[in-house]
Amino acid sequence: MKTQMKHEKILLSHGSGGKLSFFLPVLENPYLESLDDGAIFSVKGEAWVMTTDSYVVDPIFFPGGDIGKLAVSGTINDLAVMGAVPRYLSLGMIIEEGFSFSDLEKILTSIQDTCQQAGVVVVTGDTKVVPRGFMDKLFINTSGIGRIPDNFRMSRKIQAGDKILINGTIGDHGTTIMGQREGLKMKSSLTSDCAPLNDLIRLLHPFGQAIRMMRDPTRGGVATTLNEIAEGTDYGLIMWEENLPTKAEVSGLCEILGLDPLYIANEGKVLIIAESSAAEKILSVLKSHPLGEDAQIIGEVVEEYPGKVVLETQFGSRRIIDMLTGEQLPRIC
């Protein structure tokens, strides 16, 4: 807890999923130390994954989804990027006194719809109601478990020459939420990319070992996730600015607000690092799925710049893409 001691109190920026994680020093164990989206453990020779996440997005309804769809999709995606086929979820809700029943019903329906779409079931749950003012409207926690198919074991080790792929445009979710926030009265056609990715990712299982690893670039965006991948390895990651799929509305709003889409949360995106020879084939499989239409090969693993992420700008100059420090946006997921 040494670095945290400097502050004494928790700051909003501690929750951005950047450098400031503080669980590990106290709860030290090999599962947590892997710093993955979930823990892999073995049950009777089968590999299972467990993960958990809490959702505090504000507003709770937003274009493209709501806190319920987000809570189911987020946990499914954490399992799917670990290579698992998501199976069972738990659902915990903390509700503020006075919250409307009809909104709760809408959110539960959305949870059920997303579960059905993704082929998972909520098998256990819990609700707590707290006095008005103790928290804001509704917070959700979901945990999930899923099994990794025997023929799909990712090495989780990157090599020079590997390609980096993404299944579509970056920064849609965070920018949408930002655009919805009070005090920023902007009309736009932005929608969150919030979606369960297990159906898309299942299409990648036949590639087996050619897929080195997958991650979902949620809080902190693509930049933060790639930094986490590069950190502590002997390799650098280069991204090609020209290939980064970004919606014009997202770039536009980011320009106005002084944000960088690379650091903005996604809720329906997967980063894939794959063997170079399979990259084109994987790209065409991604593009065949509705959630992968805008997929691109966005970069590659190199021997230069060990441990770092570097952007090659459209003009050919290169610059570092650092880990996000501090919050860019509060309560986006």
Binding site: K9, L12, L184, G258, Y305, S317, R319, I320, T325, G326
Partner: protein, 363 residues
């Protein structure tokens, strides 16, 4: 994205890079200062330094409003925020800036009512909706934001709003450029003049820098094409030994500037000496709320005890802002001072020179 894509066009950029290299050939070292923090960020983000010939050097200047705000101001704001019934409103940039011992971010975590707003109008709205709170807006910036703050004071005055005030630390531009032009510390050949400040004050504001100090001046926009074209104009002026003011950013900035904005600045504020963090007091380089509107001046309205100002002895933000040192020359840069644990505001402001170097130039 119209008017953005065009100004990032790869082919035009290539062409300009070639033209700069041609015009700079045989010219002795050209030192140009980009005054504005947004230029600094843009230059770093697009890697523009790497496109320039060896004899053309870009030096970052004092044009980041957060960076030049002295610690004492932040300490003052923190003290105000601790008064019962006070709500502080601020642009997001100020939240993580270190004061002598605290920051607004940490004050917020400790339970003070501190809210990030996107415009002074939001702050006014908070005041209207919370008549039992004293809403203080932290007025930090240059001529670009000064008109909006003036407008909020005029609106509060018109509506008889009694619970709104501004803690004003506004600065104005041409004076510090004059100090840098007349000093010997950095031998500058010219300035990339700030874009949005010029939209308000007009390009004519820099004429004296060309005429009295022989400095090349070009107003340029923030996109790669803008900046490169500005550099081209400046190097050409230096080559021809004909310093003058040229305006590359004519799509937004004019010779005369925005008269209406100038008028309301003049109506609400009067010029005042101002302290620039790390640089010192510069005469007539700031704005003070006129006596007529003193009820909106938080400095007058609230008496608070402010902690003694402390600065980290190793911090060289002042040298960096004057252009005499570059961030990596600072012993604290990247080790003791990082965006997570900033020592000086230059490391945490989104327009700060140290932040730009830390974020983009560490390859």
């Amino acid at each position: 994205m119209k008017h953005l894509v065009e100004f990032r066009d790869k082919e035009i950029v290539k062409k300009l890079v070639k033209q700069i290299s041609n015009i700079a050939e045989g010219v002795p070292k050209v030192k140009l200062m980009e005054v504005c923090g947004t230029h600094t960020m843009s230059i770093a983000r697009f890697g523009i330094r790497r496109f320039l010939p060896e004899n053309v050097e870009l030096i970052s200047g004092p044009g980041c409003p957060v960076c030049v705000t002295p610690n004492a101001y932040l300490d003052h704001a923190i003290a105000l925020g601790r008064l019962p019934g006070v709500t502080l409103t601020t642009f997001g940039d100020m939240m993580r800036v270190p004061g002598s011992s605290g920051s607004l971010e940490r004050e917020k975590a400790a339970g003070r009512d501190i809210r990030v707003v996107y415009s002074t109008m939001d702050a006014l709205q908070i005041a209207r909706e919370n008549p039992d709170r004293e809403v203080i807006f932290l007025g930090v910036g240059f001529e670009t934001t000064a008109p909006t703050i003036a407008a909020s004071i005029l609106m509060a005055h018109r509506d008889g709003l009694k619970n709104f005030s501004v803690l004003c630390a506004h600065k104005t531009m041409p004076r510090p450029m004059e100090i840098l032009a007349s000093g010997n510390e950095v031998k500058l050949n010219g300035f990339i003049c700030p874009a949005h400040v010029t939209a308000i004050i007009g390009a004519k504001a820099y004429q004296f820098l060309a005429e009295q100090y022989g400095k090349a001046c070009a107003v340029a926009g923030f996109e790669p094409v803008d900046i490169l074209e500005g550099i081209y104009l400046l190097v050409r002026q230096v080559r021809e030994e004909k310093p003058r003011v040229e305006n590359q950013y004519s799509r937004v900035a004019t010779w005369e500037g925005n008269k209406q904005a100038q008028k309301i600045i003049e109506q609400v504020f009067e010029p005042a000496d101002a302290e620039w963090r790390g640089i010192g007091t510069i005469p007539e380089s700031g704005l003070k709320i006129r006596a007529l509107y003193e009820e909106y001046d938080a400095e007058n309205q609230f008496q608070v005890e402010i902690e003694p100002t402390r600065e980290h002895p190793g911090c060289i933000c002042g040298e960096v802002m004057k252009g005499s040192k570059k961030p990596p020359e600072c012993n604290l840069f990247g080790s003791v001072c990082t965006p997570e644990y900033p020592v000086g505001s230059c490391m945490v402001s989104s327009e700060g020179t140290c932040a730009a170097y830390y974020k983009y130039e560490r390859l």
